[in-house]
């Protein structure tokens, strides 16, 4: 059982380890943003990069909510079962009523921002009250990746316990073997045959 546990623990830490990133590609146009608390999903850095011209900005959630008010957008609500972004479409004002790309670049609500061709951002310490916004022309794709430096919660205990059980088991076997030898001891001498001279 110890060997089995140790092997399971090792497998969970290596080949069966959970992915170190979650997220994936989403259609960015015209406006994509993260929902409440989503940015800090894994409490680890988040990387976002846009394929094409556009804008990527990080702002306070309440300010971004005010900025996006009335604008049709796609909201990332979390991570889906396939570990890709789970999204919701939110209707807004008539298309063309606002120019999200120009508007975003003009506004001063961003704590971090990047614009132009293939903009990208790395949010080193995402906070639950921050929102990430991506605005882009039609056809653009944004890659949004949450770092996820995690292991299976039982992997290390399984490995340690397995190794411990293995060691204890081996020690027990060695001790058992030694006891058997002691019990045999030197043993009685084989009887000599009678009438045979020494």
């Amino acid at each position: 059982m110890g060997l089995l546990l140790a092997v399971v623990g090792a497998v969970m830490l290596t080949v069966a380890a959970p992915p170190q990133q979650v997220g994936g590609d989403v259609r960015a146009a015209p406006v994509l943003l993260t929902g409440p608390g989503v940015l800090a999903l894994t409490a680890a850095p988040v990387e976002v990069s846009l394929d094409g011209d556009g804008f990527v900005g990080l702002g306070r959630a309440d300010e971004v909510a005010a900025w996006v008010d009335g604008v049709a957008h796609t909201r990332i609500d979390g991570v889906a079962e396939d570990l890709g972004p789970a999204t919701t479409t939110v209707d807004g004002a008539a298309p063309g009523a606002v120019d999200p790309v120009a508007d975003a670049a003009a506004a001063d609500v961003w704590q971090q921002e990047s614009s132009g061709a293939d903009p990208s951002l790395r949010v080193q310490a995402p906070s639950p009250d921050q929102t990430l916004v991506v605005t882009a022309a039609a056809g653009s794709t944004v890659s949004l990746l949450w770092q996820r430096p995690t292991t299976h919660p039982g992997a290390w205990p399984a490995l340690v316990l397995g190794v411990l059980q293995l060691v204890l088991g081996l020690a027990w076997l060695v001790r058992l073997n030694r006891r058997r030898r002691i019990r045999r001891g030197p043993g009685p001498r084989p009887p000599r045959a009678a009438g045979v001279p020494a």
Partner: protein, 338 residues
């Protein structure tokens, strides 16, 4: 048995998506500051870039996105007099030694940056930036030079923000008439509401003003009174001069924020209109170079009207004591001859 339980627990840990941090659900009860320090520096850099582009003539329309209020008036006259300056040196704004950002969850928003001059020859300046709404960029409203020896109130950490009392259009709450017992706060708001008008009265009449005792004597008032007297003396017998000082703008402009000790930093503006009417047959007026350039004339035998604006920063004590002028940014903004 234990191994089996651990195995089950380990595999169970693999299932499902990561959960949202519970801290995400915690709502802030106190409004955050209008800007954070890094954000304020970025905004100041961007405004300087837009001003530079507007001055250089590459994109004059950027002036609308770079300046507002007295700063815009001064820039417009600069553009009119000097024309495009494509070779103007790019000036990065010096780092802010003090950032005063009011706590707010709404717009309009503003903040003040007090610069740390890069050389000993420069005096620190106090810059005020204003944003109308969430989609509008911050614009420079005024740049004022701190008077020698000026002391500003202490403010809470920039990351926490300070309590705003007025967001550009007068006090947020005006005390109601008829209150027999005015609170200290009502009294303070009343003083703030009349600040620019009372100071304009002091600029006009000096010590003779009924408001003179409310303000500590300052070099700016002395300078304005001395200049008005000198101008009148210079044109005596040639022209009749009238000078009026009034609060700036259609509505009184006032930004005010409370310091840690209750003293208030209040920023407002006053405009001065000087009219010189040449007496019949008395000759002509030959204004100075700046006014000639602004009015587009060399001399006039009619009426010359000049308008200047002064952005002013005051410290209003929470309790007893006179109001202190701590920073001024003044300049001519228009001149017309008729």
């Amino acid at each position: 048995m234990l191994g089996t339980a651990l195995l089950s627990a380990s595999l169970a840990g693999c299932a499902g998506a990561p959960a949202v941090d519970p801290a995400a659900q915690v709502a802030a009860t106190v409004p955050p500051p209008s800007v954070l320090p890094e954000q304020a520096q970025q905004i100041r850099d961007e405004v300087a870039g837009r001003l530079q582009a507007a001055r250089g003539g590459t994109n004059p329309s950027l002036l609308e996105q770079a300046a507002v209020g007295p700063a815009a008036d001064l820039e417009l006259l600069r553009a009119q007099v000097d024309g495009p300056q494509p070779d103007a040196e790019t000036l990065d704004p010096p780092a802010a030694a003090v950032l005063v950002a009011p706590r707010t969850g709404t717009w309009p928003r503003w903040f003040v940056a007090v610069t740390d001059p890069s050389t000993d020859d420069e005096l620190p300046s106090l810059e005020l930036y204003d944003s109308d709404d969430v989609r509008s960029p911050y614009r420079l409203w005024g740049r004022m030079t701190l008077l020698p020896g000026a002391v500003l109130p202490a403010f809470p950490d920039a990351g926490r923000g300070a309590v705003a009392l007025a967001d550009g259009t007068g006090p947020d709450r005006v005390p109601q008439d008829g209150d027999d017992e005015q609170s200290d706060e009502d009294e303070l708001l009343g003083v703030l509401a009349e600040l620019s008008g009372r100071y304009a009265s002091v600029l006009a009449d000096g010590d003779a003003s009924t408001a003179a005792a409310e303000f500590e004597p300052d070099a700016f008032v002395e300078g304005v009174l001395a200049r008005a007297g000198a101008e009148q003396a210079a044109v005596a017998g040639v022209a009749e001069t009238t000078v009026t000082h009034t609060p700036y703008g259609d509505d009184d402009v006032l930004y005010a924020v409370e310091g840690a000790d209750g003293d208030v930093l209040a920023v407002t503006a006053v405009q001065t209109v000087t009219t010189m009417t040449v007496l019949p047959g008395a000759g002509v007026l030959q204004p100075d170079a700046e006014v000639r350039a602004a009015a587009g004339i060399e001399e006039t035998d009619g009426t010359l009207t000049t308008r200047s604006v002064a952005a002013l920063a005051f410290v209003v004590p929470a309790e007893s004591g006179a109001i202190r002028l701590v920073a001024v940014g003044e300049g001519l903004v228009s001149a017309e001859a008729s």
